[in-house]
């Protein structure tokens, strides 16, 4: 069994009286895509935010490798090796692709906040940025201003930025949302490549993509895990069918 890179144990998150995530435990291994699915309001996005540190947990533990990162703020978790994409594309719209990714590479260059020296002249950072851009296949678009690119390209760019932070774990929140067919296919291929040497946690509604990509699946409903396992196991799980098709034990 491959090394566990990210582990969540008994995560809880309350918003006022609402239990958005209630006792979720899961782990993500190196070299696998672990997909989290479930109906609306199941708590998938909250789970990702708890793992990335965007929202603090009410209780529970998050470990990255051997390190307990539960109380770290999002920037410290990013430095520790957790990269993420957002449901809504989150890039710097008025900068070029290269500038976007360079910024990400800069954050992990060891002198992220130096007060002197122009960033344009930092060769190590520039190379790291170009490598990440190449990995997502945007090399030819390096000089394009982000806002003039298609939605699919913007999402690729966002992943390039994540890659430039040299993450060990990548959290993807609905990477296919709002994409056309062709764009979606490109993105699926890209995500499949990402898992090499990294751990990927994927939240996605597009079941074709989920089944094409996921090595393991966790199904959430009402803030809790209702099933977990390989895609085939999950597909036939009665609780999952009930959640999705409204089956209550009966055969459709």
């Amino acid at each position: 069994m491959a090394e566990i890179l990210l582990r969540a144990e008994g995560l809880h998150r309350r918003f006022g009286g609402l239990m958005a995530v209630g006792g979720v435990s899961l782990d993500v291994h190196r070299g696998e895509v672990h997909a989290v699915i479930g109906p609306n309001g199941a708590g998938k996005s909250t789970l990702i935010n708890l793992l990335s540190g965007d929202i603090p947990v009410s209780s529970g533990r998050v470990t990255l490798g051997d390190r307990d990162v539960t109380t770290l703020p999002p920037n410290r978790r990013a430095m520790a090796g957790i990269g993420r994409s957002y449901q809504k594309t989150t890039i710097f719209q008025t900068s070029t692709v290269h500038e976007n990714v360079r910024l990400a590479a800069q954050a992990h260059s060891g002198h992220a906040l130096r007060l002197f020296g122009h960033v344009v002249n930092d060769h190590a950072v520039n190379e790291a940025a170009e490598a990440a851009i190449a990995e997502v296949g945007l090399s030819t678009r390096s000089g394009t201003i982000a806002r003039f690119m298609s939605h699919g390209e913007q999402r690729q760019l966002e992943i390039a930025m994540v890659l430039a932070t040299r993450p060990r774990v990548i959290l993807l929140d609905e990477p296919l949302a709002g994409m056309g067919q062709a764009e979606a296919q490109r993105m699926i291929a890209l995500i499949a490549r990402l898992k090499e040497a990294r751990a990927v946690l994927l939240v996605e509604h597009d079941m074709d993509a989920v089944f094409a990509l996921a090595d393991r699946l966790t199904v959430m409903a009402d803030g809790e895990v209702i099933a977990s396992g390989t895609p085939t196991e999950v597909r036939s799980h009665p609780a999952v069918r009930a959640a999705y098709l409204g089956d209550h034990g009966e055969v459709a």
Binding site: N75, I91, L103, A104, V119
Partner: protein
């Protein structure tokens, strides 16, 4: 959303020619205009430094601060309170002291205000700035509402040798010019540095900057303090120029006026605020001599600026000369909706 630093609108050749020309003019000017205008120009340059400082926070940091006059004035009070009664204080001791005091105060105000967002940040900075105003206005520390006088301008003496005479209007002019030049140089380096880029990134998308690993709060606090320290240099020199500090130097009307300068010059460029400062000061001087109710005109001009030239004078520049690359986007991003269906 403004551009990340690095992208200039106006062609760099024109930029360079303009820079050299204005440098030459500024070197000659004090010898050809009456003393009153030499003084006026010094004052305008000091305001320019203040505007440049503010723009680090507003333009590059995306944080609308309404307390920068307080840092400006506080530095003046430090000079006033440390000036001996019977001679000039040493600039080499009191200037660094003023910068340290302001840095400390800015660190506290910044740390508190930066806990808030948007409108709250504006209000919090406004209120803390006014707190400093009232500290000097209502207590005996600095002469109360009358302000306090610096009877002898600070001395720039090293080992018995007097470098410049700050009491001499021409000398003072060149000291201001030098300070301005150093500020520009420093800020140019800063906005191009990793720090500057990270700061701009936090402005454009705080969430993303955080998830890339940038410590946004610390970044902003550092920018806030750096900006306050530059404002302190301007305030110190302003106090030295006229030998007088009053609480109004710390008041929010000055903060707002400097904000007008910044917007007038254009947020997204380095020298914009300087241009804005000189333009507004010049405009005020003209208006004062033309109208009794010149502030009415000033108010109308500010209102017009908001609606007609939201990008500042830079926008005028864009009309007069062709630009490189795509047109700057002044209409902003489409309103982002929440939640997918």
């Amino acid at each position: 959303m403004a551009k990340l630093p690095g992208a200039t609108h106006v062609s760099s050749r024109f930029y360079r020619i303009a820079l050299v020309a204005s440098l030459l003019v500024s070197l000659v000017l004090p010898f050809v205009v009456p003393v009153y205008y030499v003084q006026f120009l010094s004052k305008a340059m000091l305001m320019g430094i203040l505007a440049l400082a503010l723009n680090l926070v507003v333009g590059y940091g995306g944080l609308v601060s309404l307390c920068h006059a307080a840092f400006f004035g506080l530095a003046g009070y430090v000079l006033a309170l440390t000036s001996p009664a019977s001679g000039g204080a040493s600039i080499f001791i009191t200037l660094p002291l003023a910068m340290i005091v302001v840095a400390a105060v800015a660190a506290v105000i910044g740390a508190l205000s930066l806990r808030t967002r948007g409108i709250y940040f504006i209000m919090a900075t406004l209120a803390f700035g006014e707190m400093l105003f009232y500290l000097f206005h209502d207590t005996k520390i600095g002469g109360g509402s009358d302000g306090i006088y610096i009877y002898y301008e600070p001395e720039a003496v090293i080992a018995g040798f007097r470098l410049v005479d700050l009491g001499n209007k021409t000398h003072f002019y060149f000291v201001s010019l030098g300070a301005l030049f150093l500020t520009l140089l420093f800020l140019k380096g800063l906005v191009g540095s990793p720090f500057g880029h990270a700061l701009a990134a936090a402005r454009d998308n705080e969430r993303r900057a955080l998830s890339l690993g940038f410590p946004v709060f610390g970044l902003r606090l550092a920018a806030f303090v750096i900006s306050a320290v530059i404002a302190a240099v301007a305030g110190y020199l302003s106090a030295a120029q006229f030998g007088f500090v009053a609480p109004q130097m710390l008041g929010w009307h000055l903060s707002a006026t400097v904000l007008v300068m910044v917007v007038l010059g254009g947020l997204s460029s380095l020298v914009g605020p300087l241009v804005g400062a000189i333009a507004l000061m010049g405009l005020e001087e003209v208006l004062k001599s033309l109208f009794d109710n010149w502030k009415l005109v000033k108010g109308l001009i500010i209102i017009a600026l908001v609606f007609l030239l939201p990008g500042g004078l830079q926008q005028l520049g864009a009309l007069v000369m062709p630009e490189r690359g795509e047109a700057p986007d002044t209409t902003g991003e489409a309103v982002e909706e929440k939640a997918h269906g």
